[in-house]
């Protein structure tokens, strides 16, 4: 695979793309704000007083609706793409995605427990209820991943192939449990569950951004430090070991990072497919498999892609909106097919 573009130019292009996506995400929405009002409202948000009553509305839409939503999209997109790179590196397979180690199905299981069980319990404390779903999804993702990792270990070594199969088995098991909860759910909870499975950046607020921000920052700082080890892993585990990398430790770190990052993203925005699979793939096609470039570039591309997908999600059906999982899958699946077919010739 020969790089199509040099890393430096790719970074410039992706930074510009992300800046454009950020700008569009802040400037466009169902409510059409004049460009000047958006700019003035932004100044007001930054503390510069600007006169004008119409600006109050603009400031509110920008500050309370679009900005938290944009930040959420940025973080979720970046962390999903980063974890996708980590998984494809760990399994040495471009088809790997974070779902393989059970984090997605675990989170879905946690969410269905929260949605169906929470509805059945009824009387949760007011303050706790809004966070129950996110918390259960996060814990579920982490729990199932820990189990998959544990099952893949034998004699102090992690067998990646065993882990992959254990992931498949536990995903099936979680699927059965989710099916049971679906069966027990009533109409309203069933719809909530379905919508959660399609993901959405709707209703983002600053209070919910903090945990995700911390985790994304940790993952984004940590993974690039393991870029060389990931490069060595591409040669094979024993080769990496001979090159002097603590392979077992690296594997554990990668699994933990992914569980943490994807768990937090899913807890904040529901299931959003294809970003973790397609984005690393795309970037690899452009610059080749060097993880020192691949990791940061994927983060930039993942954030841009998710923001643009969200833009479509909120504009297409306005005043209603489309779950973002539909948009990412609509873009991701045909693109993936294209990659497959292109490789054949």
């Amino acid at each position: 695979m020969n790089p199509v573009i040099r890393p430096r130019s790719l970074f410039i292009a992706l930074s510009l793309l992300l800046a454009l996506a950020l700008w569009l995400s802040l400037a466009l929405g169902p409510v059409s704000l004049p460009l000047l009002d958006t700019l003035k409202a932004a100044l007001r948000l930054l503390g510069w007083a600007q006169a004008g009553d119409e600006l109050v509305q603009a400031e509110l839409i920008l500050g309370q609706i679009r900005l938290p939503r944009t930040l959420l999209g940025l973080l979720v997109g970046a962390v999903l793409a980063l974890c996708g790179v980590a998984m494809q590196g760990l399994f040495r397979n471009p088809l790997a995605d974070p779902g393989l180690i059970g984090v997605s199905s675990g989170a879905a299981l946690g969410a269905s427990i929260a949605i169906v069980g929470g509805a059945a319990l009824g009387g949760l404390p007011e303050a706790f209820a809004p966070y129950l779903l996110s918390l259960c999804a996060f814990v579920g993702g982490l729990g199932v991943t820990a189990l998959v990792y544990r099952l893949g270990r034998r004699d102090g070594e992690t067998n990646v192939a065993t882990m992959l199969l254990a992931g498949i088995a536990l995903t099936a098991l979680a699927g059965a449990a989710i099916g049971l909860f679906t069966y027990l759910a009533d109409d309203a909870t069933l719809r909530t569950l379905t919508f959660w499975n399609l993901g959405s950046l709707n209703g983002a607020s600053y209070a919910r951004l903090w945990p995700l921000l911390l985790i994304t920052a940790a993952v984004a700082l940590w993974l690039p430090r393991r870029a060389k080890a990931l490069n060595a892993l591409l040669l094979g585990e024993s080769e990496a070991r001979h090159l002097g990398f603590a392979v077992e430790r690296i594997k554990a770190e990668l699994v933990f990072c992914t569980a943490l990052g994807v768990g937090a993203a899913v807890a904040a925005a529901g299931m959003i497919g294809f970003i973790g699979l397609v984005v690393p793939h795309l970037v690899r096609l452009l610059v080749g498999p060097d993880h020192r470039v691949l990791l940061p570039a994927s983060a930039l591309a993942g954030a841009s892609l998710l923001l643009l997908a969200d833009l479509a999600a909120r504009l297409v059906l306005a005043p209603a909106e489309l779950p973002i999982g539909i948009v990412t899958a609509l873009i991701g699946a045909p693109f993936f097919l294209y990659l497959l077919l292109r490789g054949r010739t």
Binding site: P30, P130, N202, G203, A204, R314, A320, E321
Partner: protein
């Protein structure tokens, strides 16, 4: 004397204050979320003020022409703001909460009304809608009439049951005849069957698929079909075609497969409910004179 005049002035200012409160402008641009609430807004004369409804508001037909704000549990703040609403009314299912907070922040009045299937909740909701529309008397009248109709229904049932025992009933909710689910305990279906004077044969809770054998074993006298995509004879035929065993039940042999609009099963007590109940009752008790002339049993 001076003290008296100041007292007078004070009371006058207090009075004018309460006048101002009363003259607070009524919300003119409404968004309604929740099927039966939207129906009530229309029934109380507020249709011209509606600028948007959610996806469950399908009655009356004219509401479908309004902009849709999507599913009531997944509302989007900015999308709704494009409709420049003064007020959003909805049931307790409306959400998610952060979006409602964003709307409140944007100066939209958010009124959460109860959609529980009991008369006191309905009364409170109707009074609230009436006040907000500036038609409190109309709301009171509507509630009194509604209560009276349900009372008539209950009285009629007592008389009817003297002549005939309550029939065993199953309500099947399906989609174009396929995979029908029977409404069990603690569902709106159960409530409806009981109010119409039937005995719900399904003993599970919630809506669950019944096996063919279980269906035959229960052998319902009456089957109510609530089909989400077909209506009338088409729904009946589709159900029989896809579930041939149903034809062997008493209900089918005696041609007592009734049709029900599935929207009556969601969203609490709507304005169309008394008619629906009366039609079901008339079919449950064919020997009695129907309560409403037009509510003839559908054969």
């Amino acid at each position: 004397m001076k003290r008296l005049s100041s007292l007078l002035a004070l009371s006058a200012s207090l009075l004018s204050c309460s006048w101002l409160m009363a003259a607070e402008p009524l919300p003119q641009r409404w968004i309604s979320s929740g099927g039966s609430l939207s129906e009530w807004v229309v029934a109380l004369g507020g249709e011209s003020r509606l600028v948007g409804v959610d996806s469950t508001s399908q009655h009356p037909e004219s509401l479908r022409a309004l902009p849709s704000i999507g599913y009531q549990r997944q509302l989007a703040a900015e999308g709704m703001l494009t409709l420049r609403p003064d007020i959003l009314i909805g049931s307790e299912e409306m959400g998610p909460p952060p979006v409602l907070a964003q709307l409140r922040g944007a100066g939209v009045r958010v009124e959460m009304l109860s959609s529980k299937a009991d008369l006191s909740s309905l009364q409170a909701s109707l009074q609230r809608i009436g006040t907000l529309l500036g038609e409190p008397q109309r709301a009171d009248q509507a509630f009194a009439a509604y209560q009276q109709r349900l009372q008539q229904q209950a009285d009629w049932l007592v008389t009817a049951q003297r002549q005939q025992a309550a029939p065993g009933v199953l309500l099947l909710l399906g989609h174009a005849g396929g995979s029908p689910m029977a409404g069990g305990k603690d569902t709106s279906a159960d409530w409806l069957i009981e109010r119409a004077g039937g005995r719900n044969l399904a003993s599970h809770s919630g809506f669950k698929a019944l096996s063919t054998e279980a269906l035959l074993a229960l052998d319902p006298e009456v089957v109510i079909i609530a089909d989400r995509s077909l209506s009338g004879d088409a729904a009946r035929e589709a159900l029989l075609q896809q579930n041939p065993a149903l034809a062997a039940t008493r209900a089918a042999r005696n041609q007592r497969l009734l049709m029900l609009d599935p929207t009556l099963l969601v969203g609490g007590l709507g304005p169309r409910l008394p008619d629906g109940l009366a039609a079901l009752s008339a079919a449950f008790y064919p020997a009695s004179q129907p309560l409403v002339a037009e509510a003839k049993p559908t054969p």
